[in-house]
């Protein structure tokens, strides 16, 4: 049995973090979302994995290489253009010659649930889809069941028209016949797996398996903090160095060569990537800090995502808390997000970031500046 993991997507709603890395490489507890998926697949007993890669695929390939570090064999299939999930699965066809599971590379799931799908497709050799209940079914593909047979599948129906609260959880069991079915599905531009499933459901040949474990989806920047909080564990790399008078409280993950200076406090829900340095008396809480970032002495970083190699200079403040955040044309009310600071950005000394601020990559925020809203990448923010 092989697993086909879809990891070609960009994740435009997660900019600026996805300007330089694909969405599956966003970290939760210092490990890419995709790594959590690869491990779940491996723990479900699958050794051969096909990663369908595309956008910024170098990041994925350099991280996973041939899979040896995870005890799996990884092959890569390239989806040069993002023409939908169905098209992505088709790219894996040359690597697959038997029943297989296909799943998203940016959604954290449990091995036991992957195993359920594996067992079902091995037993029945029928198209299988994992389903789960959702409080917001109309955000997903809503499934109507008759026993374990899928009767219909409706993509993102209007709220009042959702036929049930059971949704497609995005783990599929397929036989090689699925490739033909995917090809035969009419498509206008993008070719989605769900279009094919809708058609197969109408023919009555799709079975459902109910998920029981975690299902953590990162749709927006603030979801990263939530998902990180769910998976983060008390774990300190052997090469990390925590000064005697620094403190690490609760579930915090510290990566290789992290340095916490005297008086630094890292509070629950935080994950600090490799080579991150936290200055004297700085406070980091419920935050995701990517590798090589520097947090200066006395800085406060709460509910924040700090990009790779970014600098939060001394006494800068991300106070944290709830805010209304605009993504594209949609306003998301009352989400917990202190700030996002892009890769290689620099927040100058004593600068303050209002809750909900999103600072782009390589932005330079001058000393003492006050920032809110969304700052595009490469901008300079002067002190007013």
């Amino acid at each position: 049995m092989k697993a086909v993991i879809l990891a070609a997507g960009e994740g435009t709603r997660l900019r600026p973090l996805t300007e330089s890395r694909p969405k599956p490489m966003l970290p939760a507890a210092n490990r890419p979302l995709l790594e959590h998926v690869v491990e779940a697949v491996r723990d479900a007993g699958i050794e051969d994995i096909v990663l369908v890669v595309g956008y910024r695929r170098e990041r994925i390939q350099s991280h996973f290489q041939d899979g040896d570090d995870w005890g799996v064999n990884i092959e890569y299939a390239v989806q040069a253009k993002q023409l939908g999930t169905g098209h992505a699965v088709l790219q894996a066809e040359p690597h697959v010659d038997g029943p297989f599971v296909a799943l998203n590379g940016d959604r954290v799931v449990d091995a036991a649930d992957v195993e359920r799908v594996v067992e079902r497709v091995e037993r029945d050799h029928e198209t299988t889809v994992a389903v789960r209940r959702s409080e917001r079914p109309s955000d997903f593909g809503v499934v109507t069941l008759d026993g374990d047979r899928v009767v219909s599948l409706v993509e993102k129906p209007p709220k009042h028209a959702a036929p049930s609260d059971v949704v497609n959880a995005g783990i599929y069991g397929f036989t090689p016949a699925a490739f033909d079915a995917l090809r035969e599905t009419e498509s206008a531009g993008e070719r989605a797996v769900t279009d094919t499933l809708e058609r197969l459901a109408d023919e009555g040949v799709v079975r459902a398996v109910t998920l029981q474990g975690r299902w953590l989806d990162v749709s927006h920047l603030w979801d990263l903090l939530r998902v990180n909080g769910r998976v983060v564990a008390d774990d300190t790399a052997p090469s990390a160095r925590v000064a005697d008078r620094a403190s690490v409280v609760g579930d915090v993950t510290l990566g290789a060569d992290c340095r916490l200076r005297p008086g630094a406090r890292v509070l629950p829900g935080s994950a600090l990537g490799a080579n991150v340095s936290v200055g004297a008396n700085a406070v980091v809480a419920n935050s995701v800090v990517l590798p090589d970032a520097t947090i200066g002495a006395g800085a406060v970083v709460r509910d924040a995502v700090v990009g790779e190699n970014a600098t939060i200079a001394a006494n800068a403040t991300v106070e944290g808390g709830f805010a209304d955040v605009t993504v594209g044309t949609t306003v998301h009310e009352d989400v917990r997000l202190g700030a996002v600071v892009g890769d290689n950005a620099r927040v100058g000394g004593a600068a303050t970031l209002t809750p909900g601020t999103v600072v782009g990559n390589r932005v330079d925020v001058e000393t003492g500046a006050h920032v809110d809203g969304r700052i595009e990448s490469d901008a300079l923010v002067r002190r007013a």
Partner: protein, 604 residues
């Protein structure tokens, strides 16, 4: 420069040998062969070409459980089927593979021919099976015959022999690496551990002068006729780390691995806030304070790393630093060996010329430091102290990640020596180390701009020639950038100190010779901008590797280099790697195995 593999055990030897040769292929690749002991005289298969060509002539299966194999890069004699290894004697009972050069083969060959031996090849190697044959004819045992033959040859060699009637492989080593891997009831031989790393991790490295006999479950080593024990070492490398992982070429894979390689290089070694470096090398403070000169000895890319480092050592440690091409090195007059530190820079640790230079330095009594990527390599056993660059295995012939890791390791050394000599304050050291700490992120930024570099490469790939200019640290990067391009694209490419242009090379500049200028911190960019104007006025297109937009308005294409002080030119070099890669790839070159070149040059 060639590769040796051997197997003695219970399973079929053929696939082990064939896979081993494939693993070693990067070392040499104009011909390949194997000798299989199928009972009776060894069966030899060999051919000109790559290992895949050999596989085409090999049988599907063989009962042999003992055998040796070889991939060759010509030194003596053209690449022909006859000159491919293994070589046999007149009877066909003895088959030998060899790396290195036998200096006295002319005399030996004349002597053997006078005794009636018929030679089938033009190689120096072939004297060995004939010498063994002569000893066997005199009644010697295979082991004694082999030892007697080895005693007669001079030069550098790693030899592996199989003989009719035994299940053993006979080995000898002199100045050319050879190691033995211990499996469970089986034994492996390789000129490099990568030959058998998927099968065995416990490895014995033979030493110069060793003669050994390997069987399925035993290794017996003799040195000067006495039985000796060589330690068994655990290899922690991943064999499979050498696979391409979705990349079209190892070189591109390795370019993209640089942030990770740099993190490994830096890991645990720096305290940027306190300005301290911990390299775990034993160079006492008193000794460093007494130093009058640091000599860097290296070849090729490593030489350019030495140039970069010499600049840093003079500036930050206030000690004279010189850089020597290893094949030109001599410990010349006017120097006190006790006040000279000789730093040998070699990725593989097996570069013959660098080893020879290090031996020369060692003879004078100078203290020696090896800066290398390969734990347990020859240079590490030769030098007084070792500094590992920790870049991980590099397969692409064109060095990329090992260059940045070398320069970074050497920069840490410069800061360390500067601190010990009190030439750097903790604050100054802290700034330098903060720049080093920023390297992985800065290099990642360059990698993220790959599409931009590709576009530039597409615009200029078909040019007549390429020139790279820079000053100070930018000069070493200009040289390295030109080397990278010429190695893999076969285009004419030269690096110059920017100021030297007008003293000659400017005559070569036309509107079809793009000039790449290093315009970063640490490279006296403002002065180089004048050189840019010079070439612009001759119509040459200019690509600027610019920090903070320096000179941007004078260049045709600007690639932004993050500001990392003295480390900026090193970051700029990553653009040049990508540029070389894309130019070569657009031309369809054999990027991982450029013509006439091999990864580690183990012959002088």
């Amino acid at each position: 420069m060639c590769g040796i593999v051997g197997y003695a055990g219970a399973r079929d030897a053929l696939p082990v040998l064939s896979d081993g040769l494939k693993n070693l292929e990067y070392r040499g690749y104009d011909s390949a062969g194997v000798a299989l002991c199928e009972g009776g005289a060894p069966t030899v298969y060999k051919t000109v070409g790559e290992v895949d060509d050999l596989r085409a002539v090999l049988p599907d299966a063989s009962e042999a459980t003992v055998g040796v194999g070889h991939t060759r890069w010509s030194t003596h004699g053209e690449p022909t089927d006859a000159n491919a290894h293994p070589h046999t004697d007149c009877t066909g009972d003895v088959a030998v593979v060899h790396n290195g050069i036998i200096d006295n083969y002319d005399d030996l060959k004349a002597e053997l021919e006078a005794d009636g031996h018929a030679f089938a090849s033009e190689t120096d190697t072939e004297v060995v099976p004939h010498l063994v044959e002569a000893e066997l004819a005199d009644g010697a045992s295979p082991a004694d015959a082999f030892a007697a033959a080895v005693a007669r040859i001079e030069g550098s060699f790693a030899l592996a022999m199989v003989v009719d009637g035994t299940d053993a492989i006979y080995l000898a080593r002199q100045d050319s690496p050879l190691c033995v891997g211990h499996g469970d009831g089986e034994t492996f031989v390789g000129s490099d551990v990568t030959a058998f790393l998927e099968h065995a991790r416990e490895v014995t490295y033979l030493e110069n002068g060793d003669v050994a006999v390997v069987t399925a479950d035993e290794l017996v080593v003799e040195h000067d006729g006495e039985r000796v024990e060589r330690p068994v070492e655990q290899v922690e490398w991943e064999a499979d780390a050498a696979e391409k992982g979705g990349y079209e070429h190892y070189m591109l894979k390795e370019i993209h691995e640089q942030p990770r390689a740099l993190r490994q290089t830096l890991s645990g070694r720096i305290d940027a806030l306190e300005g301290e470096v911990d390299l775990d090398v034993d160079l006492p403070r008193e000794y460093l304070n007494s130093l009058e000169e640091v000599q860097f000895v290296a070849c090729g890319t490593s030489y350019h790393a030495g140039l970069y480092a010499a600049n840093l050592v003079e500036e930050h440690a206030d000690v004279r630093a010189t850089v020597h091409v290893a094949s030109e090195y001599q410990f010349r007059g006017g120097r006190d060996p006790w006040r000279t530190l000789v730093v040998a820079v070699t990725q593989s640790g097996e570069t013959a010329e660098t080893l020879a230079a290090l031996r020369e330095a060692d003879r004078t009594g100078a203290r020696t430091l090896a800066v290398t990527n390969v734990v347990g390599s020859s240079v590490t056993r030769l030098a007084d102290e070792n500094l590992y660059i920790r870049a991980g295995p590099e397969i692409g012939v064109a060095a990329t990640k090992t260059f940045v890791s070398q320069v970074t390791s050497l920069a840490l050394l410069a800061v360390h020596v500067g601190r010990e000599r009190d030439e750097l304050t903790p604050t100054e050291a802290s700034d330098l180390l903060e720049d080093a700490r920023g390297l992985p992120g800065a290099v990642q930024r360059v990698l993220d701009a790959d599409a931009q570099v590709r576009a530039v490469a597409e615009a200029y790939a078909d040019s007549d020639a390429f020139f790279f200019i820079g000053r100070a640290l930018g000069h070493s990067v200009a040289l390295e950038s030109a080397l990278k391009l010429k190695e893999i694209s076969y285009d004419h490419a030269e690096g110059f100190p920017a100021g030297e242009l007008k003293h000659g090379p400017l005559a070569l500049v036309t509107d079809d010779t793009p000039v790449v200028a290093v315009l970063t911190g640490g490279a006296r960019a403002a002065e180089t901008v004048n050189s840019v104007k010079e070439v612009e006025s001759r119509g040459a297109p200019v690509v600027g590797l610019c920090t903070d937009g320096i000179g941007e308005k004078f260049v045709d294409d600007a690639l932004a280099v993050p500001d990392l002080g003295a480390m900026s030119p090193l970051v700029a070099n990553v653009y040049a790697q990508l540029f070389a890669y894309h130019v070569a790839n657009l031309k369809g070159r054999a990027i991982d195995k450029p013509r006439n070149l091999a990864k580690s040059v183990t012959v002088e």
